[in-house]
Symmetry: C2
Subunit: 289 residues, 2 copies
Amino acid sequence: MAPKDIVYVNGAFVPRAEARVSVEDRGFVFGDGVYEVLRIINGRPFAARFHNERLRRSLEGIRISLAGKETPESLTEIGRHLLEENGLLQGEATMYMQVTRGAATRAHNFPPPEIQPTVYISVARFTPYSDLALNGASAITHPDLRWGRCDLKTLNLLPNILASQAAKERGTFEAMLIRDGVVTEGTKTNFFGVLDGTLRTHPCDDHILPGITRSILSELARELNVDLEETPIQASEIPLLSELFLSGTTTDVMPVVTLDNKPVGNGKPGEVTRKLQRVLAESLASGGD
Amino acid sequence: MAPKDIVYVNGAFVPRAEARVSVEDRGFVFGDGVYEVLRIINGRPFAARFHNERLRRSLEGIRISLAGKETPESLTEIGRHLLEENGLLQGEATMYMQVTRGAATRAHNFPPPEIQPTVYISVARFTPYSDLALNGASAITHPDLRWGRCDLKTLNLLPNILASQAAKERGTFEAMLIRDGVVTEGTKTNFFGVLDGTLRTHPCDDHILPGITRSILSELARELNVDLEETPIQASEIPLLSELFLSGTTTDVMPVVTLDNKPVGNGKPGEVTRKLQRVLAESLASGGD
C-alpha cells in the first residue's frame, strides 16, 4: 500500500492531489502570504520555537492576522497530526506551513476584515544532502534582485526562483546573491565565509532572512570559540576566502568548494566548516531546543 | 436572475465560486506567474495588441512557455467568450488573464518540462472613476521596496499591496513610489508631472512597468505638441510640479491634486491633464488600435 499523502487546507485534511484553493486566493494572484519550512526528526520539529516566532514576525510584517484561536503553535500541532497521518513519525521529514491573506475579489488593498486567511500545511519525507555535505557543493554568484524586505519569509519568491534555476543550469547547488557589491545570502540559504581566520556572515537587516540555522550556528561558533563577525563579505573579498559554506533548515552546513568555477580555498571543505557540521549534526540528533 | 459569473481555469469554464487550483500551484506557493488586465468597452478589448505583446514579454522574462497552441491572443479569445457568457458585451468591463508555471512538488527550480502552465481568465463589470477623474485624487509618497525587474508584470505584488494599503489608510487613492530619490511609478499606475511647462515621466527601464496607457498618452501628447521628456521626477522636484497625474488601464488619466496633504500646483486638475484626459477618452470611445 502506498503511503498516504494528506495535507491540511483551511480546516480540512485532504489527499494532496485533491487539495485546492480558490482562484481568488491572494496567494495565487498576488503571492500575498508567508511561510515556514520546519525540519522534522523522528516526528519532532527541530527548533519549532524559532520557526513559530519567525512565522509570527512574518505575519505581522505583512499584517496578516490568523483567524480565531489559530497561532503558529496551533498550526505546528496540525503539522504534527499530519506527520502521524502520513506515517512520518520515524526518520527525516519536512513540514511546510503557509498562510495567505485569504480569497477575495481581486484588489491590491487588503480585503474586508471578514475574509479569513488561508492556511495550508503539508509534510513530506526528507533525505539530507549527505554526499554533497561530505564532498562540498559548487555555487555561482548572481545579482540580488529581491525587494527591500528580505527579512520577511514571504511567498514573493520569483527572484529566488530565477537565481536558483540559473544556479541549476550552471550545474551548481546554489546562487550566492550580490547586492551593491556585497554577498547577502543564497536563494534559500544564508552564507558564511572564513577570511583571515575569522568567520563572517551578513548581519541581520532588511537584505537577508534571519535564518534559524544561521542563528544556531552563530551560537555554536561562539561556544567553540570561533571568531565570528557579522560583517558582510564583499564580492571583491571572494578570492580571499579560505572557506565558504551555506546554512539552512534543510541544507544544514553545506561546504561550497567551487564558486563560479574557481576553487574556494584549497577546494576542499575547511576546518571551521567541518567543526560546525559536526556540532550542528549533534544538535539535530539531540532534538535542539 | 443574477448574472452568471463564469471564469476559465485550465480548459474549463466554471462558476467563479467553484474555480479552484491545486495547493501546489506555483502561483499559490511562489507567486510564480504573470498577468494582464485589459479594459473592455462594449465587448471590445482596448489596445489588446499591446497587452498581448506585454504578456508575451512577461512570460519570456520569467521563462514560462504557454502549453501547446496557446498564445496571448488565444487567451484573449477565451476572455471574449467569457464576456459573452457573462453578459458583458455592453458597457465597461475588465478582463484578467494570469499564467503561472503550473502545479508541481514544491521546489524553487523550474518543474519538469511535462508540467503545464496554469491559465486563469476572469472578466468583471467595471465602473470608471468618473467623479475622481473630474475633481482630482490625492496620493502619498512611499518608499519603492520592489524588486529589480518591475518591468515584468508578475504576481509578486506584495510591495505594491503594502504601499497601496498605506495609501488607502491615509485616505488617498495611490502611493507614489520613491526609489533612490526618484519617483518611479504608482502601485498600479504610472506617473506624469508637469514641471516648467514640460510633461515628464520616468523612462522605461527595470524600475517601472511599461504602461500601455503611459505609452498611448506619450503618443497623444506628441500629437498635441505637448513637450514630453522621459526624465524621472526627483522627489526634491515635487514641490515645483504644476500638474501631476496617474495613468493606467483602469485609471485612465487621474489628476493628483493633493500629495502628502499638500496641494499640487493650484490644487486643481491642470490644463495638460485635462487635454490628455479628453484625447484618451476619445481614443477609448473609438476603440483604440
